[in-house]
């Protein structure tokens, strides 16, 4: 695999810790994969052990109870790292939500390489610490927020992540396309699809957002949305 030289996320992924020749060496143990929406890369409980970098697309991490209740426990974007090195067992499914490109490694190969490249491990550590922070904030959301607060926070979060240029304020086109359907939003927020639909329509009725198509959200009144989410901000 010699894609590395032209890799989109080369400067943001953990690979950015490496020198050119080291990237080449890492590239040699990696494999490029293309995923279609709904395709699962890693299954909960399996110990095959694969890790990967996301090059393009959005994937979800999810776990579920035996009766079918599901919770999305993470969402990964381009340049994010997937998998559980230095562990025995994956704790969740990893499934593509959009068309996606990933760069996979066998865990053992990756682990060996990482241990020889402390800079890489350091980058991974920083990333993991950040992910832990974000996951802990999510605990507050799931444990203590109402449906409206959950949705407001979710929309603000999405607007940050998905707005390309980073247009802040109440600029004319403060909108984005969600990579999720309603059920997936529900699975992220610990709600039912019906509640998501209802609260979203409340926001629409209050002219806080517009929903021109199923997956598109436009934020009309960011202040109002922040106010609803605000309790969270501390």
């Amino acid at each position: 695999m010699d894609h590395c030289a032209t890799c989109y996320v080369r400067n943001r992924a953990i690979c950015s810790a490496l020198e050119v020749d080291e990237v080449t060496a890492l590239g040699r143990i990696g494999r490029h994969h293309r995923l279609v929406p709904g395709q699962t890369l890693i299954w909960e409980g399996e110990d095959s052990m694969l890790v990967a970098n996301v090059i393009d697309g959005v994937l979800k991490l999810s776990t579920s109870l035996s009766d079918g209740r599901e919770q999305i426990v993470g969402v990964v974007y381009p340049s994010d790292f997937i998998g559980r090195p230095f562990g025995t067992r994956v704790q969740h499914n990893v499934t593509a939500l959009t068309d996606a490109h990933v760069c996979t490694f066998s865990s053992s190969d990756f682990e060996r390489f990482a241990r020889e490249h402390p800079e890489l491990e350091h980058k991974l550590l920083e990333r993991t610490l950040g992910e832990l922070d974000r996951t802990r904030r999510w605990l507050l959301l799931l444990g203590r927020m109402t449906a409206s607060e959950k949705l407001a926070n979710f929309l603000l979060d999405m607007s940050e992540r998905l707005t390309p240029g980073g247009s802040c304020g109440n600029s004319p086109a403060d909108g984005f396309d969600l990579p999720f359907g309603r059920q997936q939003i529900a699975d992220i927020l610990g709600l039912t699809i019906e509640t998501v639909s209802r609260r979203l329509n409340d926001f629409k009725a209050q002219k806080i957002i517009a929903v021109p198509s199923r997956r598109r959200i436009e934020i009309l009144d960011r202040t109002a949305l922040s106010d609803i989410a605000a309790n969270a901000t501390l």
Copy 2:
């Protein structure tokens, strides 16, 4: 500080990655602290930046909303690591639940030391990855479980962590003392104190547990408890 040589958690904390002389060097930049229950070591949002190892005791990590709703986002035990190195800002309070001993470092000192000792960073990475896994499982609990399921899982989790010898099965004294009051259990599980009390009494009535004193729990029927928690296990 020359406690390191006799430190209780010396072989389990991240220090275990280091050689004797390295531990000594780390010890020189650390300070020993004693905390009493309720004492807060780190405040949410502050950027003073302190990191620490827990030597003894139990501490909680918590965040709260402006109107007082609180969520415990983590619980740390002896040998666990506290704080957010390589970041700008702490996202939660760190408060002692019991008398506690911690070994603190200024973030910058610790970061400098860590970057010079890849083995230490590696241990920290493993720890952080494990913590992330556990936190993600907690998302499932908060987002998708009923109060009884939450409590059953909580009790089983506690019994694992707090049982000294690791007595499994239905041995005669399958009990432990919680380091939490009812309100804190509620704040861990995203419930109210009243619901915790009621469900706990249900378990008592069903002879699944006994509660000889406020903080003591004895598991009488581990199978039943597992069944209630079971949906989670997948």
